[in-house]
């Protein structure tokens, strides 16, 4: 705010003087042909408009430095939640080491209140190229850079959905690497964690299409990239699908998670998100239906 008010007042003063000079000293047709008096400079005036800006700059600098150093010094409360964020082309991986939960694209965090703060500390890195985590209403941005761990924290006070997206150009689908942060009350968050901790390999015997879909899933290249906890699928390259059906969106945000969209996504990811790194699996219509039937059971 200080920065804004200082720059705004400089603009008004200097801009106003310029405007005044341009109007006051314009050439009029009634003027004589004589050149105006030539003034070559003035040491006092020039000294004044060197020293005053220096003072303003020093003031701005000190206030900025206080914010920067202050941000770094804030100590981490014991109630803080740790989350590891890993950027991928073009999706987000979230790991909750304390709870053994791994999820993708939709970050759930508890709300924090000033009396009993539970900020979420994000440890961020990248699996491939540089990305940047930016949810404007929660915090500034922080880059995710390979071979490097950056940290930042967020502490939303109001429950709700906070939108953001990758802010560092990361390749073809940079535009659709969206971020969704769900801030939940501590109770809702605990319930969500509990649900995410459940194994997804529940009994499917009553649902023949899903059983068949699971077989298709486990016998295709899907498992090279995706994990479904409790099965032999332990791929790390793509998002963890253990609780896929509990998410609102597909493909890191741009697509609603409906069975219809899911099916289209599996059959041709590049038509929904050109440049996405998931290949088309060329499944037959029957297999496609079965896999979809299986995936929508993964709550």
């Amino acid at each position: 705010m200080l920065v804004l008010s200082i720059t705004a007042s400089i603009f008004l003063i200097v801009g106003g003087l310029l405007l005044y000079a341009l109007i006051r000293f314009r050439h009029r047709s009634t003027d004589s042909d004589r050149e105006p008096p030539q003034i070559y400079g003035s040491d006092q005036i020039e000294l004044a408009w060197t020293v005053i800006p220096i003072l303003i700059v020093v003031m701005l600098f000190l206030s900025t430095a206080r914010v920067i150093l202050g941000t770094e010094r804030i100590s981490k409360p014991t109630s803080a939640l740790d989350v590891t964020v890993i950027g991928h082309q073009f999706w987000w991986e979230y790991r909750y080491p304390k709870f053994g939960v791994v999820t993708a694209n939709e970050l759930h965090v508890p709300t924090s209140d000033p009396g009993n703060p539970t900020p979420t500390y994000l440890k961020m890195s990248s699996a491939d190229v540089s990305h940047s985590f930016w949810v404007p209403r929660l915090a500034g941005k922080m880059d995710l850079i390979p071979n490097r761990v950056n940290t930042m924290w967020i502490d939303p006070e109001q429950p709700g959905l906070y939108l953001g997206q990758c802010a560092q150009y990361c390749g073809t689908q940079h535009a659709k690497m969206l971020l969704r942060v769900y801030a939940q009350t501590p109770e809702d968050f605990a319930a969500w964690i509990k649900q995410q901790q459940k194994s997804a390999s529940q009994d499917l015997s009553s649902n023949t299409a899903a059983v068949e879909g699971q077989t298709v899933f486990l016998h295709n290249a899907c498992i090279n990239c995706h994990t479904v906890a409790g099965t032999i699928a332990t791929g790390r390259f793509g998002p963890d699908l253990t609780h896929l059906a509990s998410r609102d969106t597909l493909a890191s945000g741009p697509i609603q998670n409906t069975p219809e969209n899911l099916k289209n996504w599996i059959s041709d990811p590049n038509s929904m998100k050109p440049g996405a790194l998931m290949p088309s699996m060329h499944l037959s219509g029957h297999d496609l239906d079965a896999v979809t039937a299986y995936l929508i059971t993964l709550h």
């Binding site: 920065v3 400089i10 000293f25 105006p36 060197t50 701005l60 404007p136 560092q168 535009a175």
Partner: protein, 560 residues
């Protein structure tokens, strides 16, 4: 002779069948005359201005409405990469060096550059660099064997440029074209420095140099320091891509941050390399149309030198979100803020130059007025961005895009247009049309403000840059539409300008040797100047030699 440009002469003679085309082309291709080389630089830059402008328009059409399918993400990413690279390396630098080439020897009373052949070589290698960049559309093996333009951004952050993430050869075209043009840039800078130091006419002491020459001198010195790291980085990247050197290849333990340091050690001084020549034009034009000497000449020189030095220590303000730590960030905040002091001195001195003058609002001057206001705003949003906490929120958003286009278009392009209108009569012997000039100014001014004022808003609302499309409902639609409409105004303004350039070449009023009643040495030569510039080497006694001649009762030399 006095009424015709060299270009027109050549066209006329060719059309009349007096000289075969081949002979004319051969003459221009082999020329070592600094004026012809300067004109070729400017011509080349105008071509690239049109190309990069078309790229910008395509992007604005794509972004005008949400979820647009006008162009694919791949094409969009190529467009912003090519737009940025072209505008910085093949429009900005050539056009400024074109003016430098043309004006510096004339203004210091020299007959040519110190190294005429090096000068020609520099031009041609820069031109071939530009051609190579665009040849990627045909020559690079894209993913499926088709040609493809580079799509890694003009900043080409590692490791996106590594072979794994950028297969094919498009990135190689990018690195090689910048390597070539970098060689040309260094050659020209060397030439300008040597010419300024060694070839001044009698009486032209350093403190009597026209400010334009001072600014080109400092710019050229900065080129030496800045282009080196860029060239080194391009070589390292090429080694990474061809022989697996792993400087920037993070998959093999290389460092992504190292590239950022190299790139911005070049990249930030580059901003000043582009903006100092723009200051140079304003320094010449504002006094002439205010009918006053520049206020505080020594302070202007000192401020320029200070900007030159400080600009070399601000690069990491592009990296506030990289996690460099509080100590590093704090240092670069300070360096960045401090640069506003010498820049402020310049603005105040221009203000004082206008103060008490008799301002003539001819086209060159109104463009300078646009420059003054827009540069003021650009500088102030720059101070805002220099505060790191502010930058954590707004870096890589449209706020930054708006800010630097305020510098690059609002300041540099406006100063360039002013320079075109101001020196056109010297180069061609004819005036540009004032009516068309005013149309150009107002259309471009409205377009500029519609585009770049409103671009700040989606940035504040969380719109990141370099995205090819966006969802409806985030409050960005209206602003992007306005920005798109502004871009169209700018195009129409630019068309007026180009039409004016061509038309005035044939129909413009005859200018005479000094149409603006100006004071520097180039106006003492005929328009256009003969190939040897000065029949007799001039002798000067002050900063404004022609003032002394015109006002023998009150010569400038008494006040220095």
């Amino acid at each position: 002779m006095a009424n015709a440009t060299p270009v027109m002469e050549a066209i006329d003679e060719t059309l009349a069948g007096k000289r075969p085309v081949f002979e004319v082309v051969y003459e221009w291709a082999t020329t070592v005359d600094h004026k012809k080389i300067g004109l070729m630089y400017i011509f080349l830059a105008l071509i690239f201005l049109i190309v990069a402008g078309i790229e910008a328009i395509l992007m604005r059409i794509q972004l005008a409405v949400p979820n647009n399918h006008f162009i694919s993400p791949q094409v969009f990413n190529q467009l912003f990469t090519m737009h940025g690279t072209t505008m910085v390396f093949f429009m900005g630098m050539p056009i400024l060096f074109g003016f430098g080439n043309y004006l510096v020897p004339l203004m210091i009373g020299a007959r040519d550059m110190a190294f005429p052949r090096l000068n020609a070589f520099s031009f041609w290698i820069s031109a071939f660099g530009g051609l190579l960049l665009y040849f990627s559309y045909f020559g690079a093996s894209g993913l499926y064997g088709a040609g493809s333009a580079p799509d890694v951004g003009w900043f080409a952050y590692a490791p996106l440029t590594a072979k794994v993430f950028s297969p094919g050869h498009s990135t190689d075209y990018w690195t090689l074209s910048l390597l070539l043009s970098g060689i040309g840039t260094i050659g020209t800078a060397l030439n300008i420095v040597t010419t300024t130091i060694c070839m001044r006419c009698r009486g032209m002491t350093m403190m009597r140099l026209p400010l334009l020459v001072w600014l080109f001198l400092i710019t050229s010195c900065m080129v030496f320091i800045a282009i080196g790291p860029l060239t080194a980085a391009q070589i390292m990247l090429t080694l990474d891509r061809y022989i697996g050197a792993h400087f920037f290849d993070t998959q093999a333990g290389g460092s992504a941050v190292l590239w950022m340091h190299y790139f911005w050690i070049f990249g930030h001084p580059e901003v000043y390399i582009l903006v100092l020549p723009a200051f140079a034009f304003v320094n010449e034009i504002v006094p002439v149309f205010s009918r006053k000497a520049i206020f505080g000449y020594p302070a202007m020189v000192a401020a320029t030198v200070a900007i030159g030095f400080i600009s070399l220590s601000v690069w990491a303000h592009h990296m506030f979100t990289v996690g460099l730590g509080a100590a590093g960030n704090t240092f670069f905040v300070f360096a960045t803020m401090v640069i506003s002091v010498p820049t402020g001195i310049k603005i105040f001195n221009w203000l004082a130059t206008i103060w008490g003058g008799k301002i003539h609002f001819a086209t060159p001057m109104i463009f300078c007025v646009g420059f003054l206001f827009q540069f003021l705003i650009a500088g102030l949003t720059g101070i805002m961005l220099s505060a790191a906490p502010f930058d954590w929120q707004l870096s890589a958003s449209y706020f930054v895009v708006a800010h630097f286009h305020y510098v690059l278009v609002g300041a540099i392009v406006f100063a360039l247009f002013a320079a075109f209108y101001y020196w056109y009569p010297k180069v061609t012997g004819r005036m540009m049309s004032e009516t068309l000039g005013k149309w150009h100014f107002w259309l471009f001014l409205i377009g500029f403000h519609l585009t770049f004022d409103f671009m700040h808003v989606p940035g504040l609302l969380g719109m990141p840059r370099r995205i090819y499309t966006y969802e409806a409902g985030r409050g960005w639609e209206m602003w992007n539409l306005i920005v798109g409409i502004g871009a169209i105004f700018q195009v129409v303004g630019t068309v007026c300008f180009i039409f004016n350039l061509i038309r005035s070449c044939f129909r413009g009023e005859i200018a005479g040797h000094d149409p603006w009643d100006a004071w520097t040495l180039e106006w003492a030569t005929p328009s256009p100047p003969p190939s040897y510039n000065f029949a007799i080497e001039p002798t000067v006694h002050s900063r404004r030699p022609l003032w002394d001649l015109k006002h023998p009762e009150d010569p400038d030399s008494d006040y220095e």
